[in-house]
C-alpha cells in the first residue's frame, strides 16, 4: 500500500469524499460570528464512497455514470485537485488533465502563449514545451488563430488547443472529462487516433463521457460509478449495457415513457444491440444490419403480451416506432427485432423498448433504453438515410432536365 505507483499506474484505495451542500456558497465574517456554535446548516453528499480501483500503465478506462454519480469527483480526486476524506488516490508519473474547456488558459494570451502557460500549470518546463509547440500548433489546426488571444476562440477551438496540448505533452497519465463531445466528428477521430498512439507509448487514460461511442472507440475497460460507488468494472460492452440499465431507470426516457411505479407484471430486463456477427456494439455505420435483442420477464402468465420499440433521435424526435403482439407468454422469453439495413444518418439515437400486457393496446410503458451511435456519414444530412445517386443528363425534350 505504501509502494509508490509506477509511472502510468493509478491506484485508488477506499477513496471517500463527501461534499457539504451549503444553502449559500460564500461565507462572510458575520455568519462566522453569528452562527458560531449553532453549526452550519448543510446537507452532505457522498460523492465517493470507498472507491477502490487499480489501473495499469497503458490502460484506457472509460468512466461512466449518471449525472451526479461521482465521475467528475473521481477524476478531480485522481488529479489531486480535491483532497479525500479518507483513503488514497495516487497516480504514478506525470499527469495532464483536461477537465474543462479553457481551464488553465489566460484569456488575453494568444493560443501559442497559452501552450506555455498550460504546460507550466501541468508541471512541464520551458524546454519540454518548446520541443512540442510546433506539433501542438499543427495538431490544433488553428492556423493563424494560434497567435490571436484565446478570448475570441469558440468552444471548438478551445477544445482543439486544449486537447492538442494534453495529448502532446509527454505525460504518463491523461485525465479527460466530457470534453471531446464539443469537437466535430473529424477532429474527434483525430483525437482518438492520437490517444491510441499515446496508449501505445505506455500512457494511461481515464476518460469520462456520456457518449458510449467515444468510450467504445478508445477504451477496453469501463468503470460505472453510481451513487459514489463502483457499480461495474469490466469489459466495455457489458459496462455500457450496465450503464444503460441505470439510465433506463431514470432520465433519457421522455416522461410519458417512464415506467409506472409498482412491481410490473412484465418487464424487459435486458436490451442489447447486436451487429451482423452477433457481437454487442453501440456504434454502427449507416446501412449496417442491426438486431435488437431483449429479454422479457413475465411474473405469472400473460395472455396478450406486446412489445414496442422506438428509435428516437438525440433531440427526441421519433424516427421509428413499431410493435408486435406475442400472444400468451409465461416466464421469460427472448425477443429479437432484426433490421437488415440501418437507414439512419450519422448521429446519436436512443433505442427504447417497452412491453405491455392484457390491457388495451395503446401506449406501452417504455422501460429499457440503449444508445445507438451511427458513425459520420457523408453525402447527406438529417436522420433518414435516403442517400441516392445524383446524375446529370443533357436536356433532350421537355421533361427530365435533372433526374
Amino acid at each position: 500500500m505504501s509502494r509508490a505507483p509506477a509511472p502510468g499506474e493509478i491506484v485508488l484505495d477506499r477513496a471517500s469524499r463527501a461534499f457539504r451542500v451549503r444553502r449559500d456558497r460564500s461565507r462572510t465574517l458575520k455568519e462566522l460570528f453569528v452562527r458560531r456554535g449553532h453549526g452550519a446548516i448543510h446537507d452532505s453528499v457522498q460523492a465517493l464512497n470507498g472507491v477502490s480501483l487499480q489501473i495499469a500503465p497503458g490502460e484506457a478506462v472509460g468512466l461512466v455514470g449518471r449525472n451526479g454519480a461521482g465521475k467528475s469527483s473521481t477524476l478531480a480526486c485522481l488529479a489531486g485537485i480535491i483532497p479525500l476524506d479518507s483513503g488514497s488516490a495516487r497516480c504514478g508519473g506525470r499527469m495532464v488533465t483536461l477537465l474543462e474547456l479553457g481551464a488553465g488558459f489566460g484569456p488575453d494570451f494568444s493560443g501559442r502563449e497559452n501552450i506555455y502557460l498550460n504546460g507550466a500549470l501541468h508541471g512541464f518546463g520551458r524546454e519540454e514545451i518548446e520541443q512540442r509547440v510546433e506539433e501542438i500548433v499543427a495538431f490544433s489546426e488553428l492556423g493563424e488563430f494560434i497567435d490571436l488571444p484565446v478570448k475570441i476562440y469558440s468552444s471548438g477551438m478551445f477544445l482543439r488547443l486544449g486537447f492538442a496540448i494534453a495529448a502532446h505533452l509527454e505525460a504518463d497519465v491523461m485525465l479527460i472529462d466530457e470534453i471531446l463531445a464539443v469537437g466535430d466528428e473529424s477532429f474527434q477521430r483525430k483525437c482518438f487516433a492520437r490517444i491510441s498512439e499515446r496508449m501505445r507509448a505506455g500512457a494511461t487514460l481515464v476518460l469520462v463521457s456520456h457518449d458510449p461511442g467515444a468510450i467504445e472507440r478508445v477504451c477496453r475497460r469501463v468503470v460505472v460509478i453510481d451513487a459514489g460507488e463502483v457499480s461495474f468494472d469490466g469489459p466495455v460492452a457489458e459496462g455500457l449495457l450496465h450503464y444503460h440499465r441505470l439510465l433506463g431507470a431514470e432520465e433519457g426516457v421522455p416522461a410519458d415513457l417512464r415506467p409506472a411505479v409498482g412491481a410490473p407484471a412484465l418487464e424487459i430486463s435486458e436490451l442489447e444491440l447486436l451487429d451482423a456477427d452477433g457481437n454487442v456494439r453501440h456504434v454502427y455505420d449507416s446501412g449496417e444490419a442491426l438486431t435488437v435483442r431483449m429479454r422479457l420477464n413475465v411474473r405469472d402468465s400473460i395472455r396478450h403480451a406486446a412489445v414496442a420499440l422506438e428509435v428516437r433521435s438525440e433531440r427526441g424526435e421519433l424516427c421509428f416506432r413499431g410493435e408486435t403482439t406475442l400472444g400468451e407468454v409465461t416466464g421469460a422469453v427472448e425477443v429479437s427485432f432484426e433490421v437488415a439495413r440501418l437507414a439512419l444518418l450519422g448521429g446519436s439515437y436512443d433505442v427504447v423498448v417497452g412491453a405491455g400486457g392484457d390491457e388495451a393496446p395503446g401506449r406501452r410503458q417504455m422501460d429499457r433504453i440503449a444508445q445507438l451511435t451511427i458513425g459520420a456519414s457523408e453525402g447527406g444530412e438529417g436522420i433518414a438515410d435516403l442517400r441516392g445517386r445524383w446524375s446529370v443528363a443533357p436536356r433532350t425534350s421537355r421533361q427530365g432536365a435533372l433526374r
Partner: protein
Amino acid sequence: MLVLRHRFLFEQLVRRELRQKYKGSALGVLWYLVNPLVLMGAYALVFSVLLRVADIPDYPLFLLVGLIVWVFFAQALLAAAPSLVGNAALVRKVRFPREAIPASVAAVQMVTFLVMLVIALPVVLAVRGTFEPALLLLVPVVALLFCFVLGLSLAVSVLHAHYRDVEPVLAAGLLPWFFVTPIFLRVEDIPGVVEREWLANLLQWGNPIAPFVDAVRQLLYAGTAPPVGQLAYLAAAGVLALVGGLLLFRRMARDLAVML
C-alpha cells in the same frame, strides 16, 4: 524551494498577471510608477508647502522613499486578497501549487517596487553626492520586506477565499493604517509624540510595516545603517510572516477547489 521548482510556472503566471492588468492601456506598467509620484507631489505640497509641519531637507525625496515601500505593501495585499477567488476556474480544474497565484500577484508588485528603487537610487546618490557602504544593506532589507509582504499576501488570499469580507476590510483598513505609518515624518518628529515615549514606541514597533519603511528610508534617504535591533526586528517580521502565511495557506487551501 517551491518557487525554484516551479520557476517556469511562476514566470508564466506573472506574465499572465501583467497582461491582464495592462491590456489596452497606453502607459501599461508605467502606471505603477505614476502612483507613488502623484502621491509624493500631493503630500509634499500639503505637508511641506501648505501646512509647513515638515521641515525636512529634500522633503519630496524623503516622502518618495517611504511611499514606494508603502505602495508596494498596500498594492500587493490588495491585489493578492481577491487573487484566488478571481482564478477560481483555474483552481477548480487544474492541479498546481496554489501558492503560485498570490505569489505571482505579489511578485508583480515587487517588480514595480524594484523599478521604483532603481529609478530613485541615482536621484538619491546625486542629491547626497556620496555613496555609503551602508547602502548595500538595502539588499537584505528588501529581501526581508518581500518575505513579509509575500507571507501576508498568502494569508489574505486564502482568508478571502474563505471569508469574502477580507478584501473590503483590508481596503477600508489600509487608509488609516497608512496614516499611522511614519511616512510623512519620522516618528520622533511627529509633534503629538513628543514627551509621550510609549506612543512613539507603539508607532515605531507596533506596526510591522513601519520599521521597514524607516529602514529603507534610513538607507536611501539618509545613507545610514539602521540599528542592529531594528534589523533583527525586520528579520523576525519577514521570517514570521512568511512561515506563518505559508502554514496558514497550506492549512486553509486544502479544500479550495471545492469551495471556490
